[in-house]
Amino acid sequence: MTTPHHDVIAARLSDYALGYLTPDERREVEQHAGQCDACSQELSELLLVMDGLARSAEPVVPPAALKQRVLARLGRETQEGVATVQPLPGRMVVADVRRSGWSGAWLAAAAALLLVAGGSLYLSLERQDRIASELARVAGEITELQQRLGDNAAQADMVLSILTAQDMRRIDLASAGGTQASAARAYWSPTRGLLVAADNLPVPPPGRVYQVWLIGSGGGPVSAGILGSPGAGRGLLIAPPPGGISTGPVTVAVTDEPPGGLPAPTGGKHLIGSL
């Protein structure tokens, strides 16, 4: 398909790959490539070349301590992320708008908007600058909140999809020999994933976290993830189906493990239940 339009677009493909185009120009290129095999092919190859350029930098052996720093940081972030949704029947609570300064930011935004709306003509330039930077800051925080809400919406979707799956089965977990009357319900769908909600959980031993395991017939335990803690004594996990678990009978177990969890259980067993 060689039309004048095609020639214009074809000449822009490398600019597209290098990120030189405006959003409108990019859309134009994508639209055309959707209908033009030659451009589509060239664009795919150019994007592969970009990938190749990224991989042309010589790999470096990272210092050993860096891995610990990375994993420690992820460990802190897991707890925040997993603990944000409480799937109580019919309602969802966003529990993690916990950054200090949130209400301050909203107030500042409201104040700034009022000022702009009410008296923009009378504002000094310096004040306008201040307000502009405040608005920019607030916009950044809103973006972050949207991201969190998006994460929560994705979790809520997953909860709904597990609970409504045709192959979902409920497994009751009981305290594994402990004196505490902890208990949990697991909702397991081999196609959609696993939801575990625990109550009366003791605080894990110092420096340990609760890790959830699925044990299928004829296989070893497979980690389903770390139990988040949406409130005192409560535990919650929402996870896609881990690989390697068959559709047959399963056992769900909760053990305590080092932060971040381990590939196979080593710690004390706290909860267990079988289907």
């Binding site: 490398s14 597209y16 790959a17 290098l18 990120g19 030189y20 185009l21 405006t22 990019r26 994508e30 959707g34 092919q41 060239e42 664009l43 795919s44 190859e45 150019l46 994007l47 592969l48 070349v49 970009m50 990938d51 190749g52 350029l53 990224a54 991989r55 042309s56 930098a57 010589e58 790999p59 470096v60 990272p62 860096l66 891995k67 720093r69 990375v70 994993l71 940081r73 992820l74 972030e77 897991t78 992320g81 997993v82 994460d151 994705a154 994933g193 980690s223 389903a224 993830g225 770390i226 988040g228 996990l237 996870a239 896609p240 881990p242 690989g243 932060p259 971040g260 969890g261 590939p263």
Partner: protein, 189 residues
């Protein structure tokens, strides 16, 4: 086809590790780190040329991957490609902040690669292809290579490259485009 099979196997492995990552599986994060941190650090260091900054970028990239794994679609590219796009964007941001240059390309580049491409299944680079692109890059005539490296590794616009070299803008554009064409040939070699 051998290559297609390799890609299929890798796409499956990628999908599994991303699902585990999204589930908060720290083992998956450790595995991904072991597999990719060397390349992430290598690219970050290549761009920012500062060990401390590069290591911070590695932390930021794995943190971003951890937080956004749920949104990553493995049919749209490889995990390593995804990590390296984030690495490049963050590294160029860092570089621009350090040099107080306005941020013009990093964001749009990320958007570009996130944007729906025409045939996503083709967009996973095999290891052999990566090697061939690297060889083709090394084999480029020096002026072409320099122009492309300024665009890719420093995030310079073509006008900025023209100013830096200094060469006419038209010359820079031709060099970049010719260099990219040679690398595309390299993919197929």
């Amino acid at each position: 086809m051998q290559v297609a099979t390799d890609k299929g196997v890798r796409a499956d492995a990628d999908a599994r590790i991303v699902a585990r990552l999204a589930a908060g599986d720290m083992d998956a994060a450790a595995e991904l780190y072991d597999r990719c941190a060397g390349q992430v650090l290598g690219l970050a260091r290549r761009i920012v040329r500062n060990e401390g900054d590069a290591e911070e970028i590695v932390q930021d990239v794995f943190s971003q991957a951890w937080r956004t794994a749920r949104a990553f679609d493995t049919s749209r590219g490889s995990v390593i490609g995804w990590l390296l796009i984030m690495t490049r964007t963050r590294s160029i941001d860092r570089l621009r902040a350090r040099q107080s240059r306005p941020d013009t390309t990093a964001e749009s580049y990320t958007d570009t690669l996130r944007a729906p491409g025409p045939s996503p299944s083709d967009q996973v680079l095999s290891d052999e292809q990566a090697t061939r692109v690297r060889e083709a890059l090394v084999a480029l005539p020096a002026p072409q290579r320099q122009a492309l490296e300024l665009a890719y590794f420093e995030g310079l616009t073509q006008s900025e490259i023209a100013e830096r070299l200094p060469e006419p803008l038209g010359t820079v554009k031709t060099r970049v485009r010719t260099a990219l064409m040679a690398l595309r040939q390299g993919l197929r070699a």
